[in-house]
């Protein structure tokens, strides 16, 4: 029998795509959380890393760190159930895209952040799309 017609095979495919996505997503969320924590705890060093004047920007940096931590926390349900909580994940991907464009406009140290975010978002989007297709093709 053609294996794409088999429930066990298509479910295994979907599961493996799910793990691929979850692994990367976990990494990305951990990075987000670490960055957020660093921004909260060490706003001055974070500001200098981004090429900003430490004095005036620390408040903003801390707010950004808090937001990053919050956003990472809000995406946790999507990590554990990426298909069932698809709307949270899609919103997360969109949010990353917006953040990436914003960072590009800000330039300086933010450009590097934009590149990293952009690359990770793209990889996440590709894996998520593959997961979505595999899930769909494991349905009747």
């Amino acid at each position: 029998m053609n294996k794409t017609l088999s429930l066990a095979w298509t479910r295994a495919q979907a599961l493996s795509r799910r793990w691929d996505f979850q692994r990367l997503f976990l990494l990305v969320l951990t990075l987000d959380a670490l960055c957020g924590a660093a921004a909260l705890a060490e706003p001055a060093s974070t500001a200098s890393l981004l090429g900003l004047e430490a004095g005036s920007a620390t408040g903003w940096i801390q707010a950004l760190g808090g937001l990053l931590l919050l956003a990472a926390g809000l995406q946790l349900p999507g990590l554990s159930d990426p298909v069932g909580r698809r709307w949270g994940n899609l919103a997360g991907l969109l949010g990353r895209l917006v953040l990436c464009v914003l960072c590009l406009f800000l330039g300086g140290g933010f450009a590097l952040l934009a590149l990293v975010q952009g690359g990770l978002s793209l990889a996440l989007a590709v894996l998520y799309f593959q997961l979505f297709r595999a899930e769909l093709m494991s349905c009747p």
């Binding site: 029998m1 053609n2 794409t4 017609l5 088999s6 429930l7 066990a8 298509t10 298909v83 069932g84 698809r86 709307w87 799309f129 297709r133 769909l136 093709m137 494991s138 349905c139 009747p140």
Partner: protein, 680 residues
């Protein structure tokens, strides 16, 4: 509805690669010289602004390439866009004088389906009822039936011989024969024309030279048109649908109170079953009617709401869903012990019909549209973009059909009152799905028990199969066999020389009849048809199909005139056209798909029992949950538990099941097979 508009201008029809014919129809002299029909006042079409935008974008994108050649994220919205366009342009009303809706005789029409389909739309109770007319998916002036000589040009029999006759059987490797039976089971729910008109002169189909057709002539009775009134002046013939057009299980329950009483009669005692169940024999088989619903005698023919064109596949599905009805009655009785037998029957009918609608939408159709796009579109129709899990956990979000699907959204008929259409019947002429030979085998070890050709499993002979092979083994045999592919040269020869049921020794050729009926009923030919559904219109035979042998054959049969290609032939030929034809993974043509996506949505969207009244208050909480919790897989698990291991690994139960292994099973005997399908 938010963002609604009264009418929708989406920028005119798609520019075609070749000019449309100058006359309303240049095929078919019947149309020539007729008055242009006075257009009925079109119903205002309310389309949300976002869908309007998607429709407009679809029109632009489809000028570049067909929807299925775009990537997933563009293809899926394009399907929605095509549906939006067709809801505005491809629904034509033919009902000049609505038939009177009968008195519902005390039935609570808000909470139950009437036998004849009336009172579904409470404002227009005649809508969709048995006897109302078929509508159209084409502009009315394009639907004048063809008359001789064009009616016979080229001869339908020549087409049957040269383009349709099956050579080597071409199977669909990823489907089973239950899929073929299922679609006929559904068609019998939705539509049927009246029997041929015995008072009119028969059509005499020209036989090509050297044809070995018995008696040397082929005659076919014309379709009986609906009675005309003064309001029909200048308009094409219209035909009545003798079944209800609704998705209401009328193939199981019949389209009249009389037929409903017949299927609710105990075959042992001949008495009406007051407990709400359907009649089944002690073995769990259908009672015997010995005649069709139209009165044609046929020894041993089984009883069902619709039992015409019967064969073993239909027999299996009718048996399963009669058992399912009874299982639902049992379940409802346990939940609502005070419910009367009549109340239980009506609720079980609602539930059973909704279950078949769900199976068709999220199991059968995705099996034939085996691609991520096809699956997404059909699951989206039922559960919306938010998906099944979300819908079940949180219910609907808003009233739109995109996010949460059609069931439970407000009813809407779009441009015309709800009716099945001639064009829909035409694209569902899928007789090539039928195999010519059937092998019945034991599920335990796959040993062959009986081998029969198509004619010997049809009509009353289907029951003989049940007498010799256990029900489970029959189901197993159909589910492990493959149907025919919808391609040229694959029309079952058993249907090309079919014994007429009522007069032994008189034959008919269904392939020729399929061609003749579309022409007679004014279904536009392939190119004209595509012109009206925003699909690319082939200019040459090479654009119609990539197969050079088919191109040459088509060229010869149609005298080089691509405009003459019949709809059925075009849809089968496009199976081998990568650019414009059947989408990848699809078992049917893109042409048919366009009509399906319009009509499949409409069957749900127009029906009060799938929209405003698709709720626990009407279905009962236990009944509503039954629809949500069940599928064809669970129906099979309930009524054929011994087959579980055969379909356990089939992703879709319309895909071929695993075959039993030699030497593993005890012999099964039909008399020993236990009946586990709920109460009789």
């Amino acid at each position: 509805m938010k963002g609604a508009v009264e009418s929708l201008d989406l920028g005119g029809p798609l520019p075609q690669s070749d000019p449309p014919p100058s006359e309303p129809r240049d095929i078919g002299s019947a149309s020539a010289g007729r008055a242009r029909p006075s257009a009925p006042a079109p119903q205002p079409v309310r389309i949300p602004a976002t869908e309007r935008l998607v429709g407009w974008l679809t029109l632009r994108a489809s000028r570049i390439q067909a929807w299925h050649r775009w990537p997933f994220l563009i293809a899926v919205p394009m399907v929605v866009g095509h549906r939006t366009l067709m809801r505005v342009r491809n629904l034509t009303d033919t009902q000049t004088v609505p038939p009177p809706a009968p008195d519902p005789a005390g039935l609570d029409v808000r909470a139950a389906r009437t036998a004849d389909g009336s009172f579904n739309d409470l404002a227009k109770p005649w809508m969709g009822m048995a006897g109302a007319r078929f509508g159209r998916n084409m502009p009315l002036d394009q639907t004048f039936g063809e008359a001789p000589p064009t009616l016979f040009e080229p001869s339908p029999r020549l087409i049957s011989n040269r383009l349709l006759a099956r050579g080597a059987f071409q199977e669909v490797p990823y489907l089973n024969v239950l899929a073929a039976a299922w679609i006929q089971f559904m068609v019998h729910d939705w539509l049927s024309h009246e029997s041929g008109d015995k008072t009119a002169a028969p059509h005499e189909i020209p036989l090509p030279p050297g044809d070995d057709w018995p008696e040397g002539r082929m005659t076919v009775l014309p379709t009986k048109p609906d009675r005309r009134s003064a309001a029909d002046r200048g308009r094409p013939e219209a035909y009545a649908n003798v079944e209800t057009s609704w998705w209401d299980g009328s193939q199981i329950y019949g389209s009249s109170l009389e037929r409903q009483r017949a299927v609710r009669t105990d075959p042992e005692t001949g008495r009406f079953l007051t407990d709400g169940t359907l009649g089944l024999t002690r073995e769990g088989l259908l009672p015997l009617a010995h005649r069709t619903a139209r009165g044609k005698p046929d020894e041993n023919l089984e009883l069902a709401g619709v039992n015409g064109n019967w064969w073993i596949g239909l027999s299996v599905l009718h048996t399963l869903f009669a058992r399912e009805h009874n299982a639902i009655v049992d379940h409802l009785r346990a939940a609502y012990p005070d419910g009367s037998g009549e109340w239980l029957f009506q609720k079980a009918r609602l539930v059973n019909a909704a279950l078949t609608a769900k199976i068709h939408t999220v199991e059968w159709t995705p099996a034939l549209m085996n691609s991520p796009e096809g699956r997404m579109v059909m699951r989206g129709n039922f559960w919306g973009l938010l998906g099944e899990q979300y819908r079940r956990a949180f219910g609907r979000v808003g009233t739109g059909e995109i996010l949460s699907g059609i069931p439970g959204s407000p009813a809407e008929h779009h441009a015309a009152p709800y009716a099945m259409t001639e064009e829909f019947a035409a694209v569902y002429r899928m007789h090539s799905l039928m195999p010519d030979a059937f092998s019945f085998r034991r599920h335990a070890d796959d040993v062959e028990l009986l081998r029969r050709d198509l004619a010997k499993v049809a009509g009353g002979q289907a029951r003989e199969v049940h007498d010799r092979v256990a029900f489970d083994d029959v189901v197993y045999s159909l589910a492990t066999a493959k149907p025919g592919a919808l391609v040229l040269h694959n029309y079952p020869n058993g249907l090309r020389r079919l014994d007429r049921l009522d007069a032994s020794g008189v034959y008919f050729d269904m392939a020729a009849i399929d061609i003749l009926r579309d022409r007679e009923r004014g279904v536009p030919r392939y190119c004209a048809f595509r012109r009206h559904i925003d699909a690319h219109v082939p200019r040459t035979f090479a654009e119609l199909t990539d197969d050079p042998v088919w191109q040459a054959q088509l060229h010869e049969v149609y005298g080089g005139d691509i405009e003459k290609v019949d709809l059925l032939i075009g849809t089968l030929a496009e199976s081998r056209s990568a650019r414009y034809g059947s989408p990848p993974g699809f078992g049917f043509s893109d042409t048919a798909f366009r009509i399906f996506i319009l009509m499949a949505s409409r069957r749900l969207k127009s029906d009060r029992f799938y929209t405003e009244d698709f709720r626990p208050e009407i279905y009962t909480p236990a009944g509503f949950a039954w629809v949500q919790d069940n599928s064809l897989r669970t129906v099979l698990e309930r009524h054929c538990p011994a087959l579980h291991s055969a379909f356990a690994d089939a992703r879709n139960v319309f895909f071929p099941w695993r075959k039993g292994e030699a030497g593993t099973g005890a012999p099964s005997n039909p008399r020993e097979a236990p009946f586990v399908g709920g109460s009789r």
